[in-house]
Symmetry: C2
Subunit: 212 residues, 2 copies
């Protein structure tokens, strides 16, 4: 019986694919610990302890502490990319697609900000080939956003002098939400997503924005 856990926010963490159960518990514990203290400041004893297991149990499911981070990074990036692509390939004009992409990407980075923090800020702790794999996934993020912006420019809906620079800025804006977002703060992930979608449409000079 796979217990489909839910967070307080109602979002389903994407760890269903991790089996067996003990491996998933360890991974969830690692996400929490890495997000709170950072990868290097987290000990394997702390991860195992949070999962209710002995330190040695970790090494039955993962070869090293770094493999845990690698798995978290890959799954997290794939999930974020999936969210972004779904929005990018939806129906509607460039403005609707860009707004939806930013809205859902930001919602993910706010709602899953523990995962997002690990995924976005612990990249350097990975070894060379693992890092290369993650960097490749990031380039796909970039391509997805740039594609929508190029569509908008081609259709005459957007006014963007510097497509590559604007793409970087839009992604940077969304990703940094994971750094500052606070669950006890005044805004919900949905509200931040809506605000940011509007701001991004302004950045690309969208001809007409939907009313707030």
């Amino acid at each position: 019986m796979s217990t489909a856990e839910e967070t307080a926010g109602g979002e389903v963490p994407p760890w269903g694919e991790v089996t067996p159960d003990a491996a998933r518990r360890l991974l969830v514990a690692a996400v929490e610990a890495f997000a709170e203290r950072g990868y290097h400041a987290t000990t394997t004893r702390d991860i195992a302890g949070r999962a209710g297991m002995s330190p040695a149990a970790l090494y039955i499911h993962y070869k090293t502490k770094e493999e845990l981070l690698h798995r978290i990074s890959r799954i997290g990036h794939e999930k974020a990319l999936d969210v972004l692509r779904t929005a990018a390939e939806s129906e509607g004009g460039p403005a609707e697609r860009l707004a939806e992409a930013v809205r859902s990407f930001v919602r993910w980075h706010a709602g899953q900000h523990t995962v997002a923090r690990v995924v976005q800020y612990e990249l350097d702790a990975l070894g060379p080939e693992a890092r290369a794999e993650i960097v490749a996934l990031r380039r796909q993020n970039d391509a997805a956003v740039r594609g929508i912006i190029e569509d908008g420019v081609a259709a005459g809906d957007f006014d963007v002098p510097d497509v590559k620079g604007t793409t970087v800025a839009v992604l940077s804006l969304c990703i940094d939400v994971a750094r500052w977002f606070n669950v006890n703060g005044p805004r919900t992930p949905d509200e931040v997503g809506a605000l940011y979608a509007d701001l991004v449409l302004r950045m690309v000079g969208a001809k007409s924005r939907p009313p707030a």
Copy 2:
């Protein structure tokens, strides 16, 4: 005779206030190491080695490794705040002041991205009271930017439905430059600053933007 060192970029690092010379060399070495590998992954032996000294020498000038980080954080934040305030208090209308603030703040985060990275991303490694001090400095950043935006709205120059949210977004956009900026990349700090100033003026719906 304080030797005013210059980086390749021509910017003067703000470490002139750190004396004696050995203490400054250690601090500069720590900035490099923290920026490259992160605070927790950096050893005191590495810092001392980069400064050309023995591990024990560090403790003549700093009580602990954390005190080094604290000093770096405080000086870095003060410098960034100074840059921001100078622009915020300059002559001209809200649009000019906001553009200049973003331009110079981004230029600093790109040009001094090693310092900025340490300052922005290693906050959690500080103890409670040191962290509180840094957080107070950050709130002054926020106040400076919000002040300009409020001026623009009051003057009827800006169209901003959500001043607090937009302030957070603008600062977040600027700060995240430190994460992705690459010295060997295609853009100079000046170019990124100009691009971002334009994007931010679009975000606040400035009535007329100066030509690129």
